[in-house]
Symmetry: C2
Subunit: 416 residues, 2 copies
C-alpha cells in the first residue's frame, strides 16, 4: 500500500475548494485504504480527493490483480473523487522515480499539501530526516558506495548508510517509510508549494502474509484470493464496492493476474532475445543479461526462476521490476525522456465522482499538461509506453475478453 | 514435400562409395518420401543416402508438426543414411535462398549428383529452362519488375514474367517445380560439380488437402492428424517407423506443433514491439510493420490474423515466413552474414545409420566446414539462430517436456 494525501487550497470564484490527492495502488482496495481516504477528509476538511494510482503494473514489479478500471470504480465508490493513472515509466520504479512521478502528477493537478501513511504518523520525523540527510549527504554517499561495492543490495546498503550517519528519526527499512521519505524529499528538494503530512498506519504491516484482522495487508488479501478465491476471511477485509469489482472482473476473465500467468510469455521472450538485446531493456544493468539468459532455460515457473536468479545484491523486488520491463519490452532508450524530464509529460484521467468532475471543470484551465481522458485523444502517442503495458497486461486473456477490457481505454473516463 | 537427390562418387581406398543426398522436410515422413528414397537408390546405385532436412520451422513458414529428431529417426529407419539439419537462416526462405543452403550443404558433404521430385520427371526440362531464362534474363527482369510494381505477389509476377518470355519447358506455378528449378540454377550458376537429376512424383499434388491414396500429400496428412488424430485413413499413408515416431512424440508433448499453438506468443510479441523494432525483423519490408501492428490488436487466432493481413501482393506463404521470423526474433542484422556468404557456415549432423557413419568416418577429413554433431560442440555459437529457433519451437511445452526434448540437442547424433 502506497498512500499519500495532497491538499490544495484553490479559490474558485469566491469559494475555496480543498482538493486532496492520494498516491495509491489499490491492489485491491481494502478497509485500510478506506480508512486512509476517510481520515484524510477528516483531518484536512478536503472537498475533493484526488488519487494518483499505478495502472497495469505496480511499484514492486508485478501485475495488478485486476485492471485499473475496476480498481478505480471501487475507490470512487468509497470516497475518492478523481483517479489519475501514474504513467508506467514512473509506476514500475524504485522509490525516487516513483515519488517523482506521483508527486509531480498531483502537483500539476494543483494540490498544496501531502499526507502519507507511515508507522509513526509524525511528519516532523520525515522533515527532520530530510534535513539531517542533507547535512550528512557526503558521508551517506561514501558509505552507500562502499556497501554497494561490497555486493549489498540497494535497500540494505542504503539502510546501513543511514545507520552510520546516525539517522534515527525514521526507520528506513520499512517500505512505507522509504516511500514517504521520497515524497517529502521530492517536495523539499524541488521547493514544490506542497505541505507534507502523514497519518499513522493501523494494525498491519506492509508485507504481512496472512489475514489476521479486518484491516489486512493487500499482500495477504491477494494471497488469499489467489489461493482460496472467495473465502469468508477475505470478504471481511474488503469494502462491498471492492468485492463487487473484484467479482465482476473475475467473472469476465476467469482468472487473477499474477506473475505466474505471464511466466510463459516472459520465458518465451527471454529465450528468443540475445544478451545484447536484453541489455537494452531498462533495469537490465551490470551484466544481468547473462544471468537472465543462463537461468531462463531451466526455469519451471516464475517463482522457480526468481529463486535461481536472485542474489544478495539483487533483491526480489529489483528483479521483479526488471522482469516487468522485459515483459513489456521497455527499453532504456524509451525511458530516457522520462528520466530527464523535470515534471511528468501528461495526466491520464481514469475516473471521477461528480465532485471530482466539478473540481476539474473549474481547475482545468490552470493545468499546463495534456489531461488525457481516453486513448482516442490526440495525445495518444504520448502514452505509447502505457498503451503497450496495458496491451501486455490483457494479453493473457482470450481475444474476446481482451477486446472487451481494452475498450475501456477508448471510452470517456468513468463517472460515478 | 521438397525432394532432391545428390550423388557422389568418392574413392575410399580402392572402393568407390556412392553417396546420395536428399533435400527434405519430412513433415511427416510418408510413403511418398519412402518412394523417393527407394527410387533414388534404384536409379543411382547409391551406397549412402544423405538428406538435408529443415529443422524446427519449414520452408513455407510454419512449425514442423513434430521435432527434427523424431522425424530423423523415422527417415533413418526407412533407408536414409545421414540427416543434416538445414540451418534456419536457409530453411525458412523463398526458393532461392532455400536452394542455396540445401545444395551447398550437400556439396560441402561431398556429393556429385542431384535428383529431385518433379511433375515431369525429366531433367532436361529444367536444364533447358535455366539456359532459356539466362538468354531472356533482361526481358524476364523487366517484366518481373513491372508486375511487382503493379502490386502482384512475387510468385504471380514471376510466373507471368516466365509466360511472357515464353518459358514452356517447366510449369513454374508448381511449388515443386520452382524448388527444383532453384536447385538446378544454384548448381549451374555456381558451376558446382554436381549433376542434377529428377524423378517423377506420383499420385498427389503438393497442396492436396484430403487423403485420397496411400501416397498422400504431407499437407493432407497433417490436416488429418490435427483434426482427427489417428484415423484409419492417416495410418495407411505412413510407414510404420513414421507412425511410431509421431506417436512417441505425441505421447511426450500431448500436442502437435501448429501455428495456432504459437499464436499467443506471436500476438504478445507484436503488441509489445514498436513498428521500428518490427522493421528490424527479417522479412518485414515495405512498411509491412504498420500493417502487422494494425491487424494484431484484433487478431483472434493465427488463421484470423492471416485473413486480415494478406493482400494480393503478399501471399500467405510470404507472410507465414515473416511471422516465423517475428516469432523467432530473427533480425535483418542477424541474417546478413548468411545472405552474403558464398557457401554455408557449418554442417549440423542430426542422425545417421551405420552406413552413414562409415561414410563420414572416411570422408570427414575432406569436409572444409565445422561438422557440428551436438550443441555441446565448441562451434555452438555459430548455431545461435538455430538454437534460438529450437528454443522457441519447444517453448509452447511445459518445462519438463521442454527440458526432455531440448536435451536431444546436447547428445551425440542419433545412430541407427
Amino acid at each position: 500500500m502506497v498512500i499519500v494525501t495532497i491538499i490544495l487550497d484553490y479559490t474558485i470564484g469566491v469559494v475555496v475548494v480543498k482538493a486532496c490527492g492520494l498516491v495509491v495502488e489499490y491492489n485491491p482496495f481494502h478497509h485500510g485504504h478506506y480508512y486512509h481516504v476517510h481520515k484524510t477528509k477528516q483531518i484536512t476538511n478536503a472537498d475533493c480527493i484526488i488519487a494518483v494510482m499505478s495502472g497495469s503494473f505496480l511499484q514492486r514489479g508485478e501485475p495488478a490483480i485486476i485492471d485499473k478500471f475496476h480498481r478505480t470504480k471501487a475507490a470512487l465508490e468509497k470516497g475518492v473523487d478523481i483517479v489519475l493513472e501514474l504513467p508506467y515509466p514512473y509506476a514500475v520504479q524504485s522509490s525516487t522515480l516513483f515519488a517523482k512521478g506521483a508527486i509531480y502528477s498531483l502537483y500539476e493537478i494543483g494540490v498544496s499539501e501531502i499526507c502519507f501513511g507511515s508507522e509513526s504518523g509524525n511528519i516532523a520525523d520525515f522533515i527532520d530526516s530530510y534535513n539531517f540527510l542533507k547535512k550528512h549527504q557526503v558521508k551517506y554517499d561514501t558509505n552507500m558506495y562502499r556497501f554497494l561495492n561490497k555486493g549489498y543490495s540497494f535497500p540494505l546498503a542504503s539502510s546501513k548508510a543511514f545507520e552510520i550517519i546516525g539517522m534515527k528519526q525514521v526507520d528506513m527499512v520499512q517500505p512505507n517509510n522509504i516511500l514517504g521519505f521520497s515524497y517529502v524529499k521530492t517536495i523539499l528538494e524541488n521547493r514544490l508549494p506542497i505541505k507534507p503530512r502523514t497519518i499513522k498506519r493501523i494494525k498491519n504491516h506492509y508485507h504481512e502474509k496472512a489475514i489476521t484482522n479486518k484491516i489486512a495487508s493487500a499482500t495477504s488479501i491477494r494471497k488469499e484470493l489467489i489461493n482460496n478465491d472467495w473465502s469468508q476471511t477475505v470478504g471481511q477485509t474488503l469494502p462491498k464496492s471492492s468485492v463487487q469489482q473484484l467479482k465482476k472482473y473475475k467473472s469476465i476473465t476467469n482468472q487473477w493476474h499474477t506473475w505466474e500467468s505471464y511466466f510463459p510469455y516472459l520465458h518465451y521472450r527471454v529465450i528468443s532475445m540475445s544478451t545484447e538485446e536484453l541489455a537494452q531493456i531498462h533495469g537490465v544493468d551490470e551484466g544481468l543479461e547473462n544471468r537472465i539468459k543462463k537461468t531462463a532455460i531451466k526455469a519451471k515457473s516464475f517463482q522457480h526462476w526468481m529463486e535461481q536468479i536472485k542474489t544478495k545484491r539483487y533483491t526480489e523486488i529489483r528483479l521483479q521490476r526488471m522482469f516487468t520491463h522485459i515483459l513489456t519490452n521497455t527499453t532504456k532508450k524509451e525511458m530516457e525522456p522520462f528520466l530527464n524530464m523535470q515534471s511528468v509529460p501528461y495526466l491520464r484521467l481514469i475516473g471521477m465522482s461528480e465532485t471530482g468532475q466539478a473540481y476539474l471543470n473549474h481547475y482545468k484551465k490552470e493545468i499546463q499538461l495534456p489531461l488525457i481522458s481516453s486513448l482516442k485523444n490526440k495525445f495518444r502517442s504520448l502514452l505509447y509506453t502505457d498503451e503497450k503495458a496495458m496491451n501486455v497486461y490483457y494479453s493473457i486473456l482470450p481475444s474476446e475478453q481482451r477486446e472487451k477490457l481494452r475498450k475501456q481505454e477508448f471510452q470517456l473516463p468513468i463517472i460515478l
